[in-house]
């Protein structure tokens, strides 16, 4: 694909602008692309965000630490469990609370289940953006099992609000483990279906290979993280580089692909689902006994100071930067949203692609708009 330049074109004659979004079937939520097009080729893309801005960071300054629980899951509704756990871990780091081992394992299990659910949705949404509707619903069929599974312990399907400072709310039992094992077995068989139906499909290959290449340097420059970065060949995963919860106990790999195109990102996500299943299995096999919650006061008061806690959501490295002034209310709470940086890289890579490719690239980067807007 040759890069179109606007140097030798009379702008008034050839280029026109297209508003893709905020209401558009494939902009997962409310995101607005202001595209400058030459025919169907994108010359310039600008992302206009903030349509779902709710001011979570300001809200945090208005409420005690406990009251921020529900907000954390509502930032990235697709990996609410991971955000929730991450928030709890950030505050635990700030207060120096030691979490019981069983609680940490349960956190890992639930987070990884949530990651699988999120990846399934991300992958299938990407496939739907390319035009195949049926795989999307097959993916949802699998995802539904996870949601049902998590509902049995958290009582909710999307905004789990399950982790608490010092542990988790509800213990998991044998029935949960059995259903999770059944799900793992089922999921492993489903990979064949996905490979046959999607990955091997010639149209899918043609649409994704070589489209939307993010090189390593661009990824570093734009702060891309998560499966998008690993699709560009950088072996970085917070779960490995700074093990939180108890990820250091588990044996798993970080799948990477060198190509950096849509196909690579898609394959990395599928491979990550496989690794997550491995982690869940290991955690359930070695689930220690003990309490699920440390002895934490009803309302915590962290000491003055600040801390940064980084963790891996389904979309990349999330960070909570909390500044405490020694009261029960955070002085400042900043969320590093991975989708924010992942989306910005699109303005760099989209020019020269077709509108149809834009949808594919956007799907393959897999951003959640409420997380960007916060």
């Amino acid at each position: 694909m040759t890069m179109k330049t606007i140097d030798d074109i009379n702008i008034n004659e050839r280029l026109y602008q297209l508003n893709l979004g905020p209401q558009h079937p494939s902009t997962h939520g409310v995101l607005h692309f202001l595209l400058t097009l030459d025919g169907e080729v994108v010359v310039k893309a600008e992302m206009l965000i903030g349509y779902t801005h709710r001011g979570h960071e300001k809200m945090a300054e208005n409420r005690i630490y406990e009251q921020f629980y529900p907000n954390s899951a509502r930032m990235d509704y697709l990996s609410g469990m991971i955000f929730n756990t991450g928030y709890c871990e950030a505050v635990e780091k700030l207060c120096g609370i030691e979490v019981p081992k069983r609680a940490r394992y349960i956190r890992v299990i639930t987070s990884e289940l949530n990651r699988v659910a999120s990846h399934l949705l991300g992958v299938m949404d990407f496939v739907m953006g390319i035009g195949a509707y049926t795989p999307f619903l097959y993916g949802w069929d699998d995802r539904e099992i996870i949601l049902d599974l998590l509902e049995t312990i958290t009582g909710s399907r999307l905004t789990y609000n399950y982790s608490r400072f010092g542990g988790v709310r509800v213990d998991i039992d044998q029935t949960f483990c059995d259903s999770a094992r059944r799900f793992i077995d089922r999921m492993r068989e489903r990979f064949k279906l996905y490979n046959d139906l999607i990955t091997g499909n010639i149209i899918f290959i043609k649409r994704t290979v070589g489209v939307g290449v993010i090189s390593k340097d661009v990824a570093l420059d734009y702060g891309v993280t998560g499966p998008t970065l690993r699709g560009s060949g950088v072996n970085y995963d917070v779960r490995k580089s700074e093990p939180y919860s108890s990820y250091e106990d588990f044996n798993f790999e970080i799948p990477t692909k060198e190509e950096g195109d849509c196909m690579a990102r898609y394959l990395v996500r599928l491979a990550e689902i496989e690794q997550s299943l491995r982690i869940i299995e290991q955690a359930m096999n070695n689930l220690p006994d003990g309490p699920i919650r440390a002895d934490v006061p009803c309302f915590i008061t962290p000491p003055a100071g600040d801390c940064y806690h980084s963790f891996e959501s389904a979309r990349g490295a999330v960070g909570y930067y909390i500044v405490s002034d020694g009261t029960r209310i955070p002085y400042r709470l900043k969320v590093r949203a991975p989708s924010f940086s992942n989306l910005f890289v699109m303005s760099k890579i989209i020019p020269g692609h077709f509108v149809a490719d834009l949808v594919a690239i956007f799907g393959s980067i897999d951003v959640t708009v409420p997380e960007i807007d916060r």
Binding site: Y69, G155, D196
Partner: protein, 152 residues
């Protein structure tokens, strides 16, 4: 775009491509005859799990045949959305306060469950009601003590 293709590759791609398409069609055909997996909602009611987080409800304890609410207001203060209002009364001087009215505006409730967590008397629980559509916003404001009387 694909100018560097050799003729061999061109032919090969046509054949592998057609094969992959036929495999895909086989999969969807197979799925056509599988049983459906969706829940036919109004005809078929889903069963809620014991941990399901609906709106809150007062537990009926066996010893008093009623709730244990002492109207301490901790739930109201913890609520991130400020949707809880508790009113207690003392039946006689020196006695404990007793929760008389407990209003929750369910339309603004984010179902976080903090009220259940902090309750010192452990008298709150989640209900398993999920069909909560109202005709008016005011129908979302419910008095859970009254609901408790109805349940008795």
């Amino acid at each position: 775009m694909n100018t560097s293709y050799g003729f061999k590759q061109y032919v090969k791609e046509i054949f592998t491509g057609s094969k992959s398409l036929i495999i895909g069609m086989g999969i969807t055909l197979k799925h056509m005859f599988k049983p459906i997996v969706t829940v036919q909602y109004p005809r078929q009611k889903p069963i809620m799990t014991p941990h399901f987080r609906g709106h809150i409800e007062a537990i009926i304890f066996d010893d008093t045949k009623s709730h244990h609410c002492v109207a301490c207001g901790l739930c109201a203060r913890t609520c991130p959305s400020h949707v809880i209002k508790v009113q207690g009364e003392k039946t006689k001087a020196g006695d404990r306060k007793y929760g008389k009215q407990y209003f929750i505006d369910f339309t603004k409730c984010s179902l976080c469950g903090l009220c259940v967590d902090v309750c010192p008397e452990k008298t709150l629980k989640f209900s398993d009601e999920y069909e909560l559509a109202f005709y008016s916003r005011w129908d979302g404001v419910m008095d859970i003590m009254q609901r408790l009387e109805e349940r008795k």
